[in-house]
């Protein structure tokens, strides 16, 4: 595996091995154990558009394992404003570092970079394309809660058209035999090529605009943010955004073990009163970005993750400490 551009770059066995490595690295991610596995290694963090969690969690993952990070910094002060191509930027950074994590506003930029570089590329989001490292942390969070990622009922809710996190996640879930309910306004439905791919994998898919109907049977409700700029007028946005949001009272018919996830940042799609329910997992999910990226970087650099003293084996042991 040279790079991680889409979930197609990982087999199911690869995914499970990364999640197992991540499980072992939990004490290191929490700062309870020191494991300088990546000492002497350098990550290039190339974020051509804003990121908080993804960029910081890559940096944290690298530093928790004793490695170091160089950042692209502010795009407006880089050579990109002088007209440098993505190819040249990648070829230049390729010579400096051992691995590159990147986010770019253009779809396909990570594949383009991977074709330009010698070192592994980690796709941290390419336009409305893919976000596979988010998918790994999502799968890790689901496995923590349910003990498995196989055969679950998952409702993906909100902006399924432009939301790259759900594009990558849906592929992975279907490969593990999950049933998907895709809940979105008609204008923000999952792109047809992704639906085609999912159906070719034998997926059971329901497309719906009714969030309430999806709650009782769901094992996971994965909320996403509906962005105001996707709508021609404010009234239409308010009408749609008002329908695709969750409050604690809405969760009354949910299964006891059902979890609510969100890639964050949230705006109004999950009310604060959900945070204190047994269903909320989005902050644990954000923490899990560190541990899964630790495991992924190690794997792409060919470094085996050893047993770590203090690592738990419980499937529900994660979360911020």
């Amino acid at each position: 595996m040279a790079s991680l551009i889409t979930m197609d770059d990982l087999s199911n066995e690869d995914i499970l091995a990364i999640l197992d490595d991540a499980e072992r690295l939990l004490p290191v991610a929490r700062g309870q154990a020191y494991l300088p596995l990546l000492q002497g290694k350098l990550l290039g963090n190339l974020f051509f558009e804003p990121s908080t969690r993804t960029r910081m969690s890559f940096e944290t993952a690298m530093k928790r394992l004793g490695g170091d990070v160089i950042n692209l910094g502010d795009v407006s002060s880089s050579s990109l404003v002088k007209g440098e191509t993505l190819y040249d930027t990648i070829r230049m950074v390729d010579g400096y570092v051992d691995i590159i994590a990147m986010r770019h506003p253009r779809q396909g930029a990570a594949q383009y970079a991977s074709d330009s570089a010698e070192v592994p590329i980690l796709n941290g989001g390419d336009g409305a394309g893919h976000h596979p490292t988010q998918t790994l942390l999502d799968l890790f969070t689901i496995r923590q809660a349910h003990g498995t990622i196989e055969g679950l009922n998952v409702a993906l809710v909100g902006d399924l058209r432009f939301g790259r996190t759900v594009h990558s996640l849906s592929h992975a879930l279907v490969r593990f035999g999950c049933s998907l309910t895709l809940v979105s306004p008609d204008s923000l439905r999952m792109p047809s090529e992704i639906i085609d791919d999912l159906q070719a994998l034998g997926a059971t898919i329901i497309q719906s605009e009714d969030l309430a109907a999806a709650i009782p049977s769901a094992d996971v409700i994965y909320m996403t943010r509906i962005q105001k700029e996707r709508f021609p007028d404010e009234d239409e946005y308010q009408r749609i955004a008002g329908v695709f949001k969750l409050a604690a009272a809405d969760l009354a018919p949910a299964k006891g073990g059902m979890i609510v996830m969100h890639p964050l940042p949230r705006v109004e799609e999950i009310a604060p009163d959900v945070d204190t329910t047994v269903h909320a997992r989005y902050f644990e999910q954000a923490f899990n970005g560190v541990v899964t990226r630790m495991a992924l970087i190690s794997r792409l650099l060919g470094i085996a993750v050893p047993a770590v003293p203090g690592a738990g084996t419980s499937t529900d042991s994660g979360g911020e400490s």
Partner: protein, 158 residues
């Protein structure tokens, strides 16, 4: 109607190219792809919806004084992958060319998705479309993965 009779519907050419077995209704697109327009001084003959044993209906194009190149054949593969191409010299078939649609279509057309990374100015890597289905032809961009809009791909030819 036999193929021979079909071919007789359009005038024989002295030198140039005959493209047969174009899907019915696609002849104008083929001419556009090959850059054949009203500015030419030599004859271009076009027959549409001609009965064909193989295809039911087909189009035929004859272009006088132009022998199409390999890069033209690569473009042709996007619209008429089953086309038969003959190079005519002195009223005889001098060469028969094969339209081959491989797994990848490289530097023939740019991705039809406007926000694809391959559209960056001066980016040096080749434009690359991957064949995702053949009947009907479906292409996806190697970089962004988007399904190509086959109605507008002619406008994106390189």
């Amino acid at each position: 109607m036999s193929n021979e009779m079909s071919m007789r519907r359009v005038t024989a050419i002295n030198n140039g190219t005959v493209i047969d077995h174009i899907p019915a209704g696609c002849a104008i697109t083929v001419l556009k792809m090959l850059g054949v327009d009203g500015g030419r001084a030599t004859p271009v003959t076009l027959a549409m919806n001609v009965p064909s044993k193989k295809m039911g209906l087909k189009d035929i194009v004859k272009i006088e004084d132009r022998e199409i190149s390999q890069s033209d054949l690569d473009k042709l593969a996007l619209v008429a992958p089953e086309a038969s191409v003959s190079i005519i010299r002195a009223y005889s078939v001098a060469e028969k060319l094969q339209v081959n649609l491989g797994e990848d279509v490289v530097n023939v057309a740019a991705c039809t998705f406007a926000n694809c990374a391959s559209h960056g100015p001066r980016e040096p890597l080749p434009h690359r479309l991957v064949v995702h289905g053949r009947e009907p032809l479906r292409l996806r961009c190697h970089y962004c993965g988007r399904e190509q809009d086959m109605d507008s791909i002619v406008d994106n030819l390189l």
